[in-house]
C-alpha cells in the first residue's frame, strides 16, 4: 500500500496536460455532442404523435417542448426522450392541446383560394383533410388555418371528408361543422349540383345532422354571341331538353340568314318557365343587331349591341320587355351603328338582290303580316335603302299560284304595302317608296313543286 501511494503521488504532474486536454475536449465537443443528442432524440420522437415539437440540448440535459394530444402521449414522449443514450436529464415542457367546446371546423372556397379553418384532432387527420382539399381545389391555393384541439366528436373525419366532397360541387361557398351540426352555403357549380349535395347529405355519418343547407342552384344561363366579322352566331349555355334545343336552333336559322350557327348548347334541367318563348323573342331582337350579344341568366335577359338605325334601336329597347313571358325582365343596352357610306342606285339594287338571295321576307301564311322571323332581314333592307337617299324604290309583291288569281293579286299588293309601311316606320320618306303587286303573274320557278312555289312567293326591290 505504501509503495502504491508512493507511486501515485508522482502522477500529479500529468494532471496539467490532462486539464489542457479536458479544456480542448470541452471546447471542440460540446456543440457537436449537443447537436447529436438533439438529433437522435428528434429521431426517436418521430413516431410519436406530437405537434410543435421543440428539442434543446444543454450539455447532456434536454428541454423537450411539444403539444401532445393525450396524457399518455405526453408521458410516453418524455419517457422516450429520457431513454435516448447519452441523455442525463429531461426538462419537460410538453403540454396537452386545449379542448375545443364546441369542436368547430370549416372549409370555404372562393375563386382563388380554398381555406380550411377551425379545429382538427390529429396530424394524420389534418394531412388527409388537406389532401382531400387539394383533390377538389382544381389548382387553386389551399390555405390551412386549422389548429389542433381535443374534444373531437366521433366520426369527425368521415364527416369532414364527405363535406369536402360537397364543397367540390360548389363554385363558391362554405361547409362547416360545429360538434355534430352541419352547415352549408354557397352556389352549386353546375345545374343539379344542389340536388346532388342534398342527396349526399343523407349519407352523413351517424349522429350528425344538417342544421342549415343554404346551397343555391347556379343561374340558368343561355348565351348567344353574334360576330359579324366571322359571320358566326355562337350559342352556349343550357337548354331544358332536346325538343327545346331543336326549336331554338331552327328559330336561329330562320332569323339569322347570313351567319353560320355554332351550337355549344347543353341540355340541363332547371330552366325557368317560359324559357323557350323568352329565348326565341330575345333571338329575334338579337337578329336585328349588326353585332351584339345576348345573355339570359335565370329570368333576366340582357341584350347589348349595335342596331342598324335609330328607330330599330328604339324599337328593340322598348319592345323586348313586352315580348318576354310574364315574370321575365329585360335589359337592352342597344346603341346605333354609324351609318354606312352612301352608294348609287345600281349598287343599292345589287345589294338588295344579294341580300334577298340569302332568304325571302316571310309573311304569316295567307296574310300580309311580316313574320317576326324576318325582322332582322327587314332591318337590313331598310339599311340598304338608307344608303341610296336619292333613289326611288319600287317594292314588288309576288305570290305562287295557290288560290284564285284576284285574291293572290290583292295579297301581293298588301304584302308589298306591308313592307313599305315597315320602311316608312323606319324613317324612309314616303315619296321615295312605291308598292306594287303582281300576284301570280310573274313566276320565277315552276308552281308545280313546293320548292318552286316558295321561290315564287317573294318581295323584290327595284331601284329607279
Amino acid at each position: 500500500m505504501r509503495t502504491l501511494l508512493r507511486v501515485v503521488r508522482k502522477w500529479w504532474p500529468g494532471l496539467i496536460p490532462l486539464a489542457i486536454l479536458w479544456g480542448l475536449a470541452a471546447w471542440f465537443s460540446t456543440v457537436p455532442f449537443e447537436a447529436n443528442l438533439a438529433g437522435r432524440t428528434a429521431l426517436s420522437l418521430r413516431e410519436t404523435i406530437l405537434d410543435k415539437t421543440r428539442i434543446e440540448a444543454a450539455g447532456r440535459d434536454l428541454t423537450v417542448g411539444a403539444d401532445a394530444f393525450s396524457e399518455d402521449g405526453r408521458r410516453s414522449s418524455i419517457a422516450i426522450a429520457e431513454a435516448v443514450p447519452g441523455v442525463r436529464l429531461v426538462h419537460d415542457q410538453t403540454r396537452i392541446v386545449d379542448e375545443a367546446k364546441p369542436f368547430t371546423w370549416a372549409a370555404e372556397r372562393n375563386v382563388s383560394r380554398l381555406t380550411l379553418s377551425g379545429n382538427v384532432p390529429l396530424p394524420a387527420v389534418r394531412a388527409r383533410l388537406l389532401e382531400a382539399s387539394r383533390g377538389i381545389a382544381g389548382g387553386i391555393e389551399v390555405a390551412d388555418q386549422m389548429a389542433f384541439a381535443r374534444g373531437v366528436p366521433p366520426r369527425f373525419e368521415a364527416t369532414a371528408l364527405l363535406l369536402l366532397e360537397q364543397l367540390g360541387r360548389l363554385r363558391d361557398g362554405k361547409v362547416a361543422l360545429s360538434d355534430t351540426s352541419v352547415r352549408l352555403s354557397g352556389i352549386a357549380r353546375e345545374l343539379g349540383g344542389r340536388e346532388a349535395i342534398a342527396a349526399a347529405l343523407r349519407n352523413l355519418p351517424e349522429g350528425y345532422a344538417v342544421a342549415e343547407n343554404a346551397v343555391a342552384a347556379p343561374p340558368y344561363i343561355f348565351q348567344v354571341n353574334k360576330d359579324p366579322v366571322a359571320a358566326t352566331l355562337t350559342l352556349g349555355g343550357y337548354v331544358p331538353d332536346n325538343a327545346a334545343h331543336v326549336a331554338l336552333i331552327e328559330a336561329a336559322k330562320r332569323k339569322f340568314l347570313n351567319e353560320k350557327i355554332v351550337d355549344n348548347l347543353k341540355a340541363s334541367v332547371g330552366a325557368p318557365a317560359g324559357f323557350v318563348d323568352a329565348a326565341t323573342a330575345a333571338l329575334g331582337a338579337l337578329s336585328r343587331l349588326s353585332t351584339g350579344s345576348l345573355t339570359m341568366s335565370d329570368r333576366k335577359v340582357k341584350l347589348s349591341g349595335d342596331a342598324l338605325y335609330d328607330v330599330a334601336a328604339d324599337e328593340i329597347r322598348t319592345g323586348l320587355p313586352g315580348e318576354l313571358p310574364k315574370g321575365w325582365h329585360a335589359e337592352a343596352e342597344v346603341s346605333t351603328r354609324p351609318p354606312a357610306s352612301a352608294v348609287d342606285g345600281t349598287v343599292c339594287e345589287q345589294l338588295f338582290t344579294e341580300l334577298l338571295g340569302h332568304g325571302h321576307i316571310r309573311f304569316v301564311s295567307g296574310q300580309a303580316d311580316i313574320d317576326n322571323d324576318s325582322r332582322g332581314l327587314m332591318d337590313r333592307l331598310v339599311e340598304i335603302a338608307l344608303r341610296c337617299p336619292t333613289s326611288n324604290l319600287e317594292i314588288v309583291g309576288h305570290t305562287d299560284s295557290d288560290g284564285d288569281e284576284a285574291t293572290n293579286m290583292r295579297l301581293s299588293e298588301r304584302r308589298a304595302q306591308a313592307v313599305l309601311d315597315y320602311m316608312l316606320r323606319a324613317g324612309l320618306p314616303a315619296d321615295r317608296l312605291h308598292a306594287v303587286g303582281y300576284g301570280q303573274t310573274q313566276p320565277v320557278a315552276s308552281n308545280d313543286t313546293a320548292e318552286g312555289k316558295a321561290q315564287n312567293r317573294r318581295i323584290e326591290f327595284r331601284v329607279r
Binding site: 479536458w22 475536449a25 460540446t30 447532456r60 440535459d61 443514450p85
Partner: protein, 98 residues
Amino acid sequence: MLFLAEFHWAWLAAAGVVGLLMGWVGVVHRSGGLSRRGLQWAAAVLLLAAASAFARIVPGRFGYWLDLGLLMFAAYIIGCAIGAWLRELVVADHRSAS
C-alpha cells in the same frame, strides 16, 4: 456514460496516453511527489466531483463538462496504472539481469 465514452473515445484515448507516459515516468522519478495533505485534498475534491456527477446536481453544460472531466481523469488514472505496471516489469527484469 457509456455513450459519453463512445462519443469522446479519441479524447479519452489521449488522456489514457498522457496517463501511460506519466505512469511510465513516475516509477523512476526521484522527486517526492504530492505531500500527504495534498493527496488527501485531491481525494476529497475527486470524491466531491464524483458525488456531484452521480447526484446530477450540476446543471447543463457544466454538468456535461464535469462528467467529461471525470471520464478523462479515469482514463488518465488507468493509463498511469498501466504505465507504472509496465515500467515496474521492465525495471524488475533489468534488476534480475544485473
